[in-house]
């Protein structure tokens, strides 16, 4: 039997155990600190972030398999978690290969086998800066919209009347998270010096409704027996309806008929 004194003063490896326990705590803390950096975009099919960091063996086989040299392993001194694959769309975006060579190359399932490229969620494109985005200035740009490999699905255009001239429309790029894979073609092609649309990690980009929150007009019957949902107002402008509707509304607003 080892006495408490012996245990603490060196008998039974006491000092070593104490040292190891301290070291282990510091080590765990340091790892936890370094693994908190949210980073995107990740390669296609990557597991959700904490699991991805844990299961990636940092071998770089996905990097080698990428025919477009999109992926890279983070080296020391970068913001990204050391040795873990990511990419910078501003340099090279993901070309969304149908046969996903990066996923096939992964030996550990950090990139989930069988993920089809349309279901990949490398990150989420967000129009982060309305103050510089040319579309928001009323200019015809739409470069991100046209660069998007899922044009019309992942990025659509929303038309809004342009009050400054009173006779033009804004063509606002709008990302749909149901379709955006985070490939980064939009960020890559943005014509600004610094892209106004960026691929962000989902947890940075997305909000989340409270579990009990309901939109009354979507499910009126379920809210309450006492609550009677109003009929949808018939005359509200529906900007999502397309260019024709915008022009129609503009005519109503300005009284000028477009040729």
């Amino acid at each position: 039997m080892v006495s408490r004194r012996e245990f603490l003063t060196g008998g039974f490896h006491g000092r070593k155990v104490a040292l190891a326990a301290t070291g282990g705590l510091v080590w765990s803390y340091a790892l936890g600190e370094s693994a908190t950096t949210a980073a995107a975009p990740r390669p296609p099919g990557a597991q959700a972030e904490p699991d991805y960091l844990a299961s990636c063996i940092k071998c770089g086989q996905c990097v080698e398999a990428c025919p477009f040299d999109t992926l890279r392993l983070a080296t020391a001194g970068e913001e990204n978690a050391l040795g873990v694959p990511y990419f910078e769309p501003r340099k090279v975006a993901c070309y969304m290969c149908e046969d996903t060579p990066c996923i096939n190359a992964c030996p550990t399932d950090a990139l989930i086998k069988g993920t089809s490229i349309e279901d990949a969620r490398m990150g989420l494109a967000v129009l982060t800066d309305h103050e510089t985005c040319l579309a928001y200035q009323g200019l015809r740009c739409e470069v991100c919209y046209r660069a998007c490999p899922l044009m019309g699905q992942a990025i659509g255009l929303e038309f809004r009347p342009q009050e400054r001239t009173g006779r033009h429309a804004y063509f606002i790029p709008v990302v749909n998270s149901d379709h955006c894979t985070g490939c980064g073609m939009c960020e890559h092609s943005c014509v600004l010096e610094e892209a106004a649309i960026k691929v962000l990690p989902h947890d940075v980009a997305q909000g989340k409704l409270g579990e009990n929150y309901r939109f009354g007009w979507l499910e009126p019957a379920e809210i309450s027996r006492d609550f009677v949902a109003p009929e949808a107002a018939p005359d509200l402008p529906q900007w999502r309806g397309g260019l024709e509707k915008v022009l129609e509304e503009m005519e109503n607003l300005t009284g000028i008929e477009e040729p």
Binding site: G24, L31, A54, I57, Q61, T75, L82, G83, P107
Partner: protein, 271 residues
């Protein structure tokens, strides 16, 4: 010619160490598919998987099941290094070995003294500690900080701040602790010491030829493995800490050492 003969194993080791780096580099940059990936995990000719078994254990400790590819790769590597002597990885494959060998060479050349000693058992503590730390932090603990993987990435993807870490190892070995990183700290080396504990491939020792000059002890990075009493009794270097690097073979003026098999002792006496 005699210089070549006297350094034949050194040349062979540098060839495998640099050759493996070169093959990885060629795969990463020119898509030559002989050896793809890195020392953590790779494929030979894009088919046979190889994985670092110690990395695999750490990932399993985080609670993540590994794909069969990685498990099969780890099993292949484990079997290979069991057969070839465990720390043969350290002596023949690991790129950090070139850094610590450089430190060892400079140390002998300029007769630099070490300031401290670190208990050789420390590396086993670090090795074991990485498992609960992986479980607590949720990421493979040693892989996150491994200078081996770091040096590898530096060579393959270009130099970065990681070189500071490598420089740190060089200085540690050079001025502070003799063979400090590989012999006292590296948990991967500790892991392979265990793997090679009962390995069949050993450095054999012919007691009759030895005149106890001690050249082998001076060149050996893990000098404690050269235990004359045990070597005489068993006919080979028994310790799993031996790198099978064969420096003793090269340096011995009386050819008392040669590679042998653990269960092959009788033939050694007929040499």
């Amino acid at each position: 010619m005699s210089w070549l003969r006297a350094h034949r194993y050194l040349i062979a080791r540098r060839t495998t160490q640099l050759g493996i780096l070169l093959l990885f580099w060629l795969a990463a940059h020119l898509h030559l598919g002989v050896l793809t990936g890195n020392l953590s995990s790779s494929r030979v000719f894009r088919t046979v998987p190889l994985s670092d078994p110690y990395a695999a254990v750490q990932i399993l400790a985080t609670g993540h099941l590994l794909a069969n590819t990685a498990l099969l790769g780890a099993a292949i590597v484990l079997l290979f290094y069991f057969l070839t002597g465990g720390r043969a990885f350290c002596g023949w494959v690991c790129p950090v070995n070139m850094v610590t060998d450089l430190a060892g060479w400079l140390k002998r050349r300029f007769e630099l003294k070490s300031q401290f000693r670190i208990d050789r058992g420390t590396r086993f503590w670090i090795m074991a500690l990485a498992i609960p730390v992986s479980a607590i932090a949720g990421i493979a603990a040693f892989e996150w900080v491994s200078p081996i993987a770091m040096l590898h990435r530096e060579v393959i993807f270009g130099p970065s701040l990681g070189l500071l870490c490598i420089a740190g190892i060089l200085l540690l070995d050079l001025f502070i602790v003799r063979n400090g990183w590989c012999g006292s700290l590296c948990p991967l080396g500790a892991f392979y010491s265990l793997v090679g504990h009962r390995s069949p491939l050993r450095v054999g020792f012919d007691e009759a030829r030895c005149d106890r000059c001690g050249d082998c002890v001076r060149i050996c990075p893990e000098a404690h493995v050269i235990d004359y009493a045990e070597m005489t009794a068993r006919g080979f270097i028994a310790s799993g800490d031996c790198l099978n690097c064969a420096r003793c073979l090269e340096v011995c003026p009386r050819d008392a050492f040669r590679f042998t098999l653990r269960f092959d002792r009788p033939t050694l006496e007929h040499i």
